[in-house]
């Protein structure tokens, strides 16, 4: 863009008024404001500047895109979808019945490592088609109650999971979110040797310290007629119930991953990981998928090609636009501000 700075005095004298009052050029600021004569920068879109701008954007975006893609490629991630496989063949016609039944729901999965995975390796569970952002659900919590024991009666927003079976006994933590806490568990072993999964520090530090009280203990939780998800150890304060804290950070999208734990050793190519999982959580009634994810991380976070591709395409488009504009500029040059285009005679309403 081209910019010209017009001084105020030039504008003032040029006015076609026959007798503009003379004023000295050193005028105070407020007066310049009141006369609408503040010095102004007036950029216009000249081909040079526009083409240069697009070239510049392209030149910046393509490298960023490449770096992002590389970062995303560096991330090693193993995804294992298990919600169907973990139902015994015989029960697959009635998955909901199985998951609600009392049977043993242990399930074994094997993950083979193809590329070296540097520690820490994050273990996520991924749910598809699970609406944590549903309005009935997302509002069904009481932050006050979570924070301190005095507010345990603040369960108004938690309906229909505020009090125990309609009595006055408050449920801590109340609400649908806590009630539907994810309860599949995973145990990892490599070459028959247990891989410890560190489940401490998987939640946000600020949540542990400020949002979930150190002296708030679960109370009446999952004691109602309807059983939701996981139970909580009522001897541990909420601030230490990290699975709950993670779960309570609701996801904005119906497909989301939540941190289950961290494996703090490197995994090498060729390693075979055995997973012993308890398939307890009911996603079958709404055809939700469950996935177990092991992933390393990069400066951009987990594996996500979107940023890289988007940057490359925007950069490419900018180059394309710059080329098109250049070609048009040479094929059909048009002088800017040519007064010949100012044909007042022609009907100005034509365009």
């Amino acid at each position: 863009m081209n910019s010209t700075t017009l001084s105020s005095s030039a504008a003032g004298i040029g006015s076609a008024d026959s007798t503009p009052p003379r004023r000295n050029s050193k005028r105070p600021k407020y007066s310049r404001f009141s006369q609408q004569e503040l010095p102004a920068c007036k950029p216009i879109l000249t081909p040079k500047w526009v083409i240069a701008a697009f070239l510049l954007i392209g030149a910046v975006f393509i490298p960023i895109g490449v770096f992002s893609l590389l970062a995303s490629r560096d991330v090693v991630q193993i995804v294992n979808q298990y919600e169907t496989d973990c139902i015994p063949e015989g029960s697959r016609t009635d998955k909901v019945g199985f998951i609600r039944g009392p049977q043993d729901k242990t399930c074994h999965r094997t993950l083979s490592i193809r590329r070296h995975m540097k520690q820490p390796i994050y273990v996520y569970y991924q749910l598809d088609n699970f609406y944590q952002n549903h309005r009935r659900y997302v509002k069904s919590r009481s932050d006050l109650q979570l924070r301190s024991p005095e507010n345990e009666d603040e369960t108004k927003s938690c309906q229909p999971e505020g009090t125990l079976n309609g009595t006055k006994a408050p449920i801590v933590p109340c609400g649908l979110i806590a009630w539907s806490l994810f309860n599949d568990t995973y145990e990892f072993s490599r070459n028959k040797r247990q891989l410890t999964v560190n489940k401490r520090g998987i939640s946000w530090k600020s949540d542990r310290e400020r949002k979930f009280g150190k002296n708030v203990y679960p109370k009446n939780f999952q004691n109602g007629t309807l059983q939701g998800g996981a139970r909580l150890d009522s001897s541990k304060p909420l601030s230490e119930q990290e699975d709950l804290i993670v779960w309570m950070r609701t996801a904005a999208l119906p497909t989301f991953r939540k941190l289950y734990g961290k494996i703090e050793v490197d995994l090498n190519p060729g390693d075979v990981i055995d997973v012993k999982l308890q398939n307890n959580y009911n996603t079958y009634s709404f055809n939700g998928k469950k996935k177990l994810v092991l992933s390393t991380t990069s400066w951009l976070g987990g594996k996500n090609d979107f940023i890289g591709i988007a940057y490359l395409s925007v950069g490419g488009l900018c180059f394309l636009l710059a080329t098109i504009f250049t070609v048009i500029y040479f094929i059909k040059p048009r002088e800017l501000g040519d007064p010949n285009y100012l044909s007042w005679n022609a009907n100005p309403g034509d365009h």
């Binding site: 010209t4 504008a11 040029g14 076609a16 008024d17 026959s18 503009p20 009052p21 009141s34 006369q35 609408q36 503040l38 102004a40 920068c41 007036k42 216009i44 879109l45 701008a53 697009f54 954007i57 996520y124 699970f130 609406y131 944590q132 952002n133 549903h134 309005r135 997302v138 932050d143 229909p160 649908l176 539907s180 600020s206 400020r210 950070r249 609701t250 996801a251 904005a252 999208l253 119906p254 497909t255 989301f256 991953r257 009634s285 709404f286 992933s295 400066w299 987990g302 996500n304 940023i307 988007a310 940057y311 925007v314 900018c318 501000g337 007064p339 100012l342 044909s343 007042w344 309403g349």
Partner: protein, 1106 residues
Amino acid sequence: MKRYVYINDDNLAQDLYCDNRISNRKYTIWNFLPKNLWEQFSRFMNQYFLLIACLQLWSLITPVNPASTWGPLIFIFAVSAIKEAWDDYNRYLSDKKANEKEVWIVRQGIRKLIQAQDVRVGNIVWLRENDEVPCDLVLLGTADPQGICYVETAALDGETDLKTRVIPSACMGIDIELLHKIKGVIECPGPDKDIRRLDANMRLFPPFLDNDMFPLTIKNTLLQSCYLRNTEWACGVAVYTGNETKLGMCRGVPEPKLTAVDAMIDKLTGAIFVFQIVVVIVLGIAGNVWKDTEARKLWYVRYPKQGPWYELLIIPLRFELLCSIMIPISIKVSLDLVKGLYAKFIDWDDHMVDLETKTRSNAANTAISEDLGQVEYILTDKTGTLTENKMIFKRCCISGRFYGNENGDALTDTELLNAVSSGSADVIRFLKVMAICNTVIPVRSKSGAISYKAQSQDEEALVRAAARLHMVLANKNGNILEINLNASLLQYEVLDILEFTSERKRMSVVVKDCQSGKIFLLSKGADEAILPHSHAGQEIRTYAETVEQYAQLGLRTLCLAWRELDDDEYQEWALMFKDANSTLIDREWRVAEACQRLEHDLEILGVAAIEDRLQDGVPETIATLRKAGINFWMLTGDKQNTAIQIALSCNFVSPEPKGQLLMVDGKTEDEVCRSLERVLLTMRITNTEPKDVAFVVDGWALEIALKHYRKAFTELAILSRTAICCRVTPSQKAQLVELLKTCDYRTLAIGDGGNDVRMIQQADIGVGISGREGLQAARAADYSIGKFRFLKRLILVHGRYSYNRTAFLSQYSFYKSLLICFIQIFFSFISGVSGTSLFNSVSLMAYNVFYTSVPVLVSVLDKDLSERTVMQHPQILFYCQAGRLLNPSTFAGWFGRSLFHAIVVFAITIHSYALEKSEMEEVSMVALSGCIWLQAFVVALETNSFTVLQHLAIWGNLVGFYAINWIVSAIPSSGMYTIMFRLCKQPLYWITMILIVAAGMGPVLALKYFRYTYRSSKINILQQAERLGGPILSLGNIESQTRTLEKDLSPLSISLPKNRNSSVYEPLLTESPNSTRRSLGAGAPFDFFQSQSRLSTNYSRNCKDN
């Protein structure tokens, strides 16, 4: 309803009428809140917002905290309520001051000092010099033995000269002591607002006089808020008090004017409202369907099997609340704010200060600046508006002899001076009429110099001229008038004054020569009001021709006449006149009829010609504004020829070869009809050609045309770019404005006198010139300016900028609201159509109130083109006039842009913050920051000129956004605790922002560049020309061209009067010789550089009809 006022009666009539407490207040302390709220809620927008706010109290459906709507709503209401309260408090203070002022009244025969508010109808009020009159009084006595007092009525009608008031003849000569005991009754009509009329009668009770009725007129009154001047004391009886005085009745709130832009915004708001309803219905149905098919399967949501009866409504209502931000609650406040600033810019403008009187321009109505940029018709008064209204006696014709023709100034014409000194009888009589036949008051200062106070500029000019010619009006002492003629003193007694009315168009006085005892009638007036009444046998043709000739020079003419009266004739007539004067019904008409009886068989003495110079810069202003596509109509009470002459000399119509004047005249319906049809026919033929066609119509023909041929006349009005209406009355001026308004044109009326007030109030925009005819017009007007030439700046600079800025601001307000609303809608598709809000309450509230309203407010400083360029290319105003910057199609562009940006922000956010990063608060803040970044760049892209303030607002706002969010993120109890810190530490966040900006702005920039360069509008071209510096300079010769054009016009108009005359009086039809010239004109090339002057002509009407 008549009222009977018993003078000085302490028992009666105490409580019959209201007391003298003045109250301009709209509210009292008790009714302020309900009344103010009621007023505010009578607006549709406010009702809508209230409904939304109330719905939000229902926690089942509200997506966010109700505070997000209640906060801004209460803020907006508080702001306007406080403004009202402040105004009302100031009114209360000024009322209180007036009410508690102390005045002398008479109680039980003794003078007492009481507060003004305790004055009652019937009380006698005593005033001293320079006192303000507390209520409407009928004079009873003054210090002057002749019963005269002087008042200044500036506060009432804006006229600064002193006016004389006389006591009724019944009270003449009553002793000051007796005045304390006077009793009587005044019969007067109920309160009205006519400050120029009072038709009342008075009867004094014995012992004062017999039971005779005496007529009272406005001359016998002292009206509230006037000041007593040059008179030691005066007393009068209160007839109207408090808010029932003439002034009190005149008060009143004028109808608020709605600008075209406001109307368009309302229309667009309505469209958005409909769109919102559609969205709500569609999403509501989708939500209910999804709930029944899908959500019931989601065990963790636990939908109850059986909901309440209103279950089906819940989801639609939630969406209604979610979408309620589509209509920006901030737009009203933003618009009020910027409109106030536009008005201030007009007040502050140094270019629009009248240096002579040091008066600044003033915008009394702060709400209609945009309309200035959309004016299509300007209806202008002539005298005082186009001209200076500084009357100077220039020429005269006395008994067939012309004076002042050679040197253009009769006062220095030796022939006339010789005639005066030699005592030529005709000349002396002429001068006597000049000096006597008027209502001028001579005021002798201490040094002995005489100055004249006059209501009419013409009269003052005549008296001054007479004084220069040794006929000095020296003193007016009651009815006795003294004249110095060459050191000898002549005395005359004024017996009657037959006053000037705009219907009669003449005034006369009956005087008695104190030496000889002879009675004379002296008259002066317009030619058509005097010449027909000349006595048979007098040759009036020469006078008629003289008048014609003077008029063609642009001079105002007055015919002077006299007649000697028989004593008997006068006595007989005087009775009749008195009778007419004391009637209560139709007095004006009866008086006029009585006057008619006397004003006949006049001997015409001569014709006086008075010059009224054009104001500076009038021709240039009119030329520029016409080039800007504005049509001019001149509405004047003056003669046709004078009007046409002035029109020619100020570029109103072009001289003969190019311009063409078509007459609409006739005295009967048939004649008018025929001439109207003829003119229409010509008009239709010439409409396509580059000719300057104007029609001329006089008051009489106009009356008939408006009554019987309204349709034809309307068509004529639409076809014609220029019109001259002469001899029109104030109400006809207003009718013409009304006519143009019914054709959906934006009209601007400009005038300076009381006779323009109705037209000014009627027009979309009223502009008053604070001139010599007083401030009446300026007070009634929306804008007052010192000189006509400021109109150019008012329209082209202030009007145009205001329109452009409002157009941007309003559309931008919708854009940003729609942007965030679309994101909410998209989010609802991935949240089970359940009506979840992506954004939290704090963000939603702050988005409208802080984040997006500050940058757009500085658009009041935006200038797309410099003032200089606009002045050089006034044609650019077309874009404003035709509403090119704010209409459904531009709005559709903004709508599309917000949809596109919403898609960009939403898609990028949910893809880059997917899976393990899809935490609700984070996603919400990423999307919000994306919106804020985009809107900053949108404002930057749409800003044409960046001043420091704009940079500060746009980029400072971005910084402010982060500052506010960091603060909120630092509060542990807030939902977004630590979120913003967390995000700002992530490289992904910044990379996402850059991506959103590039993806959102890239296409917009490319599109804008393409249109700017290859489909450029005239504005774009001028911007390029202006900023690249080059070619604009070569266009700079426009002004000089018009000036030279104007120069060679004026001699032409004088040297070829005959030529024009023919064109004026013979409407040119197709077979007239002009047809050849017309074809020539059409074939001429219309290059921009070569034919500046002709541009406006073929900048034809049809372009604005599309």
